[in-house]
């Protein structure tokens, strides 16, 4: 019971899983260093998303049935909740990108609770960085294209309706906020949620496994039961978070694109 020390050496005592064990995975094929579990899952996810959209929309019917019906619900969710509030009449033009981002991130995240696979791809920060970086480049490109190379930065750093002298003080804040903090938090928000969620699930399932199977003792058994119950509860909670983060990631992408297309107010 007193062995609940984090990072204890695995031997006779319970040791909580460490980030190194959970996230630093060996290559699947020895010698091919880049090909690890998250890479495999990312490839799988892409194939599944392409297959789903292909199956649903390759031969669309006016009255949708089966797969088309299901995927159309996802499409309409992204259109009504993500694209239209931020892009207005430009929404349809950006649906391809936003639907892809939403479904890919959603499946990346769900990989964390699908049995056997059980690894949220976005808990390796490289994956969210690539997506967020893509949106970042797109946002600056669109801003320069639609508001002029200088106009974009002028609109961003000097929002209308403020006293003249205060611009000197506020322009750096706008610059830092829009061009450095925003893309950074865009990626880190997804990464940190998935990382922490995976740690929590791994910890509680480890507690359950250890106290009920490895070292079954009268005193330890209740702890193990708590571990199992918490694993089940947190899995449900985690699925909600996974959906929420995918939604937020796509929503912020739509927001950045929308702000680049039209100068604020």
């Amino acid at each position: 019971m007193s062995a609940l020390t984090v990072l204890a050496p695995h031997g006779d005592q319970f040791g909580a899983p460490t980030p190194g064990e959970l996230f630093d995975l060996p290559p699947i094929i020895p010698g091919v260093d880049w090909f690890t579990k998250p890479v495999l899952l990312a490839i799988l996810t892409s194939i599944v998303v392409i297959a789903l959209c292909w199956g649903a929309f390759a031969n669309p019917k006016i009255v949708p049935r089966g797969l088309q019906n299901v995927v159309e619900y996802g499409y309409m969710f992204v259109r009504d909740q993500v694209a239209r509030p931020f892009l207005g009449k430009d929404a349809d033009q950006w649906m391809g990108l936003l639907v892809s981002i939403f479904f890919v991130v959603l499946l990346w995240n769900f990989m964390g609770v699908i049995p056997v696979l059980q690894f949220p791809v976005a808990s390796h920060i490289a994956f969210p960085i690539v997506l967020a970086g893509l949106i970042y480049i797109l946002k600056i490109y669109l801003g320069m294209k639609h508001q002029g190379p200088l106009g974009y930065f002028k609109n961003m750093m000097f929002p209308p309706g403020l006293p003249k002298f205060i611009y000197v003080l506020l322009a750096p804040i706008e610059f830092l906020s829009n061009l450095i903090i925003a893309p950074f938090t865009h990626a880190v928000r997804l990464f940190a949620n998935m990382f922490a969620g995976h740690m929590l699930l791994a910890f509680f399932s480890m507690v359950g496994f250890w106290f009920l199977f490895e070292k079954l003792t009268p005193l330890g058994a209740p702890v193990g039961v708590v571990g199992v119950v918490m694993t089940i509860v947190l899995t449900g909670f985690e699925m909600f978070i996974q959906f929420l983060q995918a939604f937020l990631f796509a929503m912020l992408a739509a927001m950045y694109i929308g702000n680049s297309l039209h100068a604020e107010h």
Binding site: P85, I173, L176, M255
Partner: protein, 71 residues
């Protein structure tokens, strides 16, 4: 814009805009002016400018957020 002219779509957009922009403004304000204060401290061998900068940054960012989203 009067209450009648508001459309729910643009309302939602403004709200979400504010919700996601304000924290990043506050962070940026603290980082920029706190950073300036930290540099001043290093230069003058003092320790007062860093906290002053952080607070100034939060106040300025709060003012910016208020003027942009507060109406």
């Amino acid at each position: 814009m009067s209450a009648q002219e508001r459309r729910p779509e643009t309302d939602g957009r403004d709200f979400a805009d504010a919700m996601w922009s304000v924290p990043s403004y506050l962070l940026a304000g603290m980082a920029f002016y706190g950073g300036l204060g930290w540099l001043l401290d290093r230069w003058l061998d003092m320790s007062a400018f860093f906290p002053i900068g952080v607070i100034l940054g939060v106040v300025l960012a709060g003012y910016l957020a208020y003027r942009k989203f507060g109406r």
